[in-house]
Amino acid sequence: EQEVSDNELKEMSTQGSRYINKEIQNAVQGVKQIKTLIEKTNEERKSLLNSLEEAKKKKEDALDDTRDTEMKLKAFPEVCNETMMALWEECKPCLKQTCMKFYARVCRSGSGLVGRQLEEFLNQSSPFYFWMNGDRIDSLMESDRQQSQVLDAMQDSFTRASGIMDMLFQDRFFTHEPQDTHYFSPFGFPHRRPHFLYPKSRLVR
């Protein structure tokens, strides 16, 4: 049976609303805590970006030195030619056999085409490429390219997300930070300018 009067229903609704309001406040507090954690992670991210910038500079200097030295070495007349060519003629078949065995065992897709491609590649290569570690240098250049790609992708990703998080956190529940000249939104980049003005320098971007 219905037991309570309208007034009692109102009183119960008020009490229940107070509880819900408290729960919403708790949730908003939780959002604030998470916002603080996101900001902290973002500060760590920015300091990592600075470290990456420094590391990239050093890495590129070392790569430039390597390429300069390689160019100087290439300028020398090829010496020990006979020794090199003799070794190369024995190196190639071993390399081809080792590689095709690996490919058949691990890569499983058709090794016929790959075998012919490898044969052609080895016949076009010079033992001096080996002797000067040309494969290691090419591998480093490829890594450098891929690393730039990965960093750009991460930056694009974060730029997109941080724009949304700026909106998400700025006005809704949080009083504005003191708006002074140096203030920049917690998720944006310090020198935040409209994108089209912002030269896509590979490093900083």
Binding site: E3, G16, I20, E23, A55, L73, L151
Partner: protein, 220 residues
């Protein structure tokens, strides 16, 4: 009150909370979509012998350079690397040593850079999981706001309170309270005899159960 007044008077519950969920989802998508792009296959390239076989297969198919990394398994290829032409040209030998040194430096710095990239990716994954926590923690409020159109003064409105025996065999009686959270569908909370309506905490218990029920439904 819950929300500081904005310039235009107290924003409604709907205005404040409704867009939140959508924005969290957008931020999550922006963060996550990139992780599934090929660019995120880290270039842990052959600076170490144990590199990912798949990457080697790809390289062998692409331009055969993947095979050159197997030179360590061919004695004659190794001998090429140790051919010493310095007798003919000491300057060249010095230059080759210089090349080796700068190459080792470049490889070490490339590895360092890779580790920093991994750390950066970890930070982004952390942000991604914090956004997920945000979503988990808060989506119910945003969904309630989505439901809320009017300006009802009650966040929780009790519509009926009835008591009846649980079933014909058992004499124990239960209290059934039907409530609505904002403009949600009615939620029925059934309380055992032990939770008396006269208990000051009665409505907290009702509200807590109603909210649990609502959040369970909104997760589903």
């Amino acid at each position: 009150s819950l929300i500081p007044l904005s310039h235009y008077g107290p924003p409604s519950f709907h205005d404040m909370f409704q867009p939140f969920l959508e924005m969290i989802h957008q931020a999550q998508q922006a963060m996550d979509v990139q992780f599934h792009r090929p660019a995120f296959q880290f270039p842990d390239k052959g600076l170490r012998e144990g590199e990912d076989d798949r990457a080697v297969c790809k390289e062998i198919r692409h331009n055969s350079t993947g095979c050159l990394k197997m030179k360590g398994q061919c004695e004659k290829c190794q001998e090429i690397l140790s051919v010493d032409c310095s007798a003919n040209n000491p300057a060249q030998a010095h230059l080759r040593q210089e090349l080796n040194d700068s190459l080792q430096m470049a490889e070490r710095l490339t590895q360092q850079y890779n580790e920093l990239l991994h750390s950066l990716q970890t930070k982004m994954l952390n942000t991604s999981s914090l956004l997920e926590q945000l979503n988990e923690q808060f989506n119910w409020v945003s969904q309630l706001a989505n439901l809320t159109q009017g300006e009802d003064q009650y966040y929780l409105r009790v519509s009926t309170v009835t008591t009846h025996s649980n079933n014909s065999e058992e004499p124990s009686r239960v209290t059934e309270v039907v409530v609505k959270l904002f403009d949600s569908d009615p939620i029925t909370v059934v309380l055992p005899e032990e939770v008396s309506k006269d208990n000051p905490k009665f409505m907290d218990t009702v509200a807590e159960k109603a909210l649990q029920e609502y959040r369970k439904k909104s997760r589903a």
